[in-house]
Every structure is written in structure tokens, then in C-alpha cells.
């Protein structure tokens, strides 16, 4: 296989990590909503934690994107 082709395939495979980030973000917001609808008075207090969880989950997917960019532009 051409090294260039292998690089591109590897970068594409690394982007699959974003699927996990999607699942994570969906789960966080879903769990927050179900919790908030059961106990609306406690929902506002947990909003910072929601944002923190969202940012943390999104970042793990972006680590995969970084690997893809390293494959494309650095190696």
C-alpha cells in the first residue's frame, strides 16, 4: 500500500473517535434532562456540572481528531 494512502486511511479511522464523543455528549444531556424533569428544583444547581461534563466528553473525541491531524500534517 502507498504510504500516503495508509496515512489518509489512518486519519479517517482516527476520526471514528468522534462517534464516542457523540454518544458521551448525548448521554450527558439525556441524563441531565431526565434528572432535571424528576427534580426541577435541583436542576439549576447542576448546570455547571452539565457544562463541565459536556466539555470533558467533547475533548476525548477531539483527542482522536488530533491524532488524525498529526497523521495528515506532521508525519
Amino acid at each position: 500500500m502507498e504510504p500516503e494512502a495508509a496515512k489518509l486511511i489512518g486519519a479517517g479511522l482516527a476520526s471514528i473517535a468522534l462517534a464516542g464523543a457523540g454518544v458521551g455528549i448525548g448521554h450527558i444531556f439525556g441524563a441531565y434532562l431526565s434528572g432535571a424533569l424528576r427534580n426541577p428544583s435541583a436542576a439549576a444547581g447542576q448546570f455547571p456540572n452539565l457544562l463541565l461534563g459536556f466539555a470533558l466528553a467533547e475533548a476525548t473525541g477531539l483527542f482522536g481528531l488530533v491524532i488524525a491531524l498529526i497523521l495528515l500534517f506532521v508525519i
Partner: protein, 256 residues
Amino acid sequence: MATEHATAGHGGEAAAFDPMHQFEIKRLIPLEIFGIDASFTNSSLFMVVAVILISGYIIFSMSGRALVPGRMQSVAELGYEFVANMVRMNIGSAGQKFFPLIFSLFMFVLVLNMIGMIPYTFTVTSHIIVTFALAIVIFLGVTLVGVVIHGFGFLKFFVPSGVPALLLPLLVVIEVISYLTRPVSLSVRLFANMMAGHTMLKVFASFVVGLGFLGGWAPLAFMVAFTGLEVLVAFLQAYVFAILTCIYLNDAIHLH
């Protein structure tokens, strides 16, 4: 970033459609000290602009010291209260002496992220070396705080309590590794979010141009929504950066 890998868009100039072009560092004032390239770059320029903006705004808005704050002073007090609450919630009263650190970190990252959202500006935090330098300084500083407060007792941090002795050797290794990856994850999180966001905006912007006057409206609407999302992400990442620093400090002060 390597521009030679760039793929040109619809027959336009390569630089115009290259999503990585915006991250290029240019030397504004070339400078070399003892063989080290210490040029004043556009990255340095935006850092200086951010520091002047933050200090200037806070000094100017608080100079009145009004008991009933005006509009400018309210915003400055809002930022102060926000960070003060974050420190109080995460570290407790022992963290009050670290408030200036957290406040400067939060404001610096926030303003750099927000300046980056203005078109034709440079996003300093989209370079791993900047975020990694911030993260490694935080990491070393937090470790130092832990060692100064607890002495050798700080090593207890790596030994989880209530675990069977058989598992301990394995868990201590895992704890040490997870501690050592903190600066990496802290810096890569901010850098990757900023870079991926700005690249995505640029790619979508090139769709608007590529589809022309008739088809370009749909991606343009997306662009507006994405820009809003990116402003949110710019704030969130500064918040996460500051709050993780708080959590690390709390670990160092209270040992779990």
C-alpha cells in the same frame, strides 16, 4: 502548519480556502537571543493585547469603586464573583490564596479564546505549545504546593484508600500515570477544541463561497449557528481549564 498539504477549493487561491492558513505564525519583529528565536510574533502580539485588555478593563472599571456599581463595574464584579465562587466551591477556604492565579488563568484563556472568535484575528490558544506551557506550569506549581503542604505525605495521594493490598502495586502505577498525564490532557483539551472549532468554521465558510449566491444560504445559516456554538465552546473551555486547575489544587491541598 504545513501549507503544502492544503487542498485548494473551487479554483480559488490556495491560501483563501486553506483551513490551516489561519494558524500560521508570522514574525512581526525578528529577534534572536543567544541563538534562540525569540521573535515578536502575531501570537505574542495577541497575548499582549489580551493582557492589556484584561488589566485595562479591570483597572478602568474599578477605578470609581462605587458602592452601587455602574455597568462597567458590574461586569468586572461579575467576573470576580464567578471565579471566586468556583474557587470556594472546589477548594474551600484554603483555596482563597490561590484566587489570583485562577482568576488570571481564567481571564487570560477566556479573552484569548474570545479574541480568536473575531474574524481575521489569531487564536493563540489553538497552538499546543501555548496551552502546554500553561498546563505544565500549573502541573509543576500544583505538585509544589502539595509537597510544601504535606512533605513526604504527599505520596499518600497515589495510594487509594480501602483497596486490597494485592491490588495496590497495580493501582499505584495507574494513579501515577494518570497524575502524569494531567498536563497533557489539560493542554490538548483546550488546543484541540480551539483548533478543531476554527478549522470547522473555515471549512463551512468555504462551502458558502463554493456554492455561490443560490446555494450558499444553507451553509451560511449553519455558519451563524456554529459561530454561536463556538462562542459557547470558547467560554466553556476557559471555564473547564480554570475548574480543572481548581480540582488539581484541591487534590494537592486536601489529598482526595
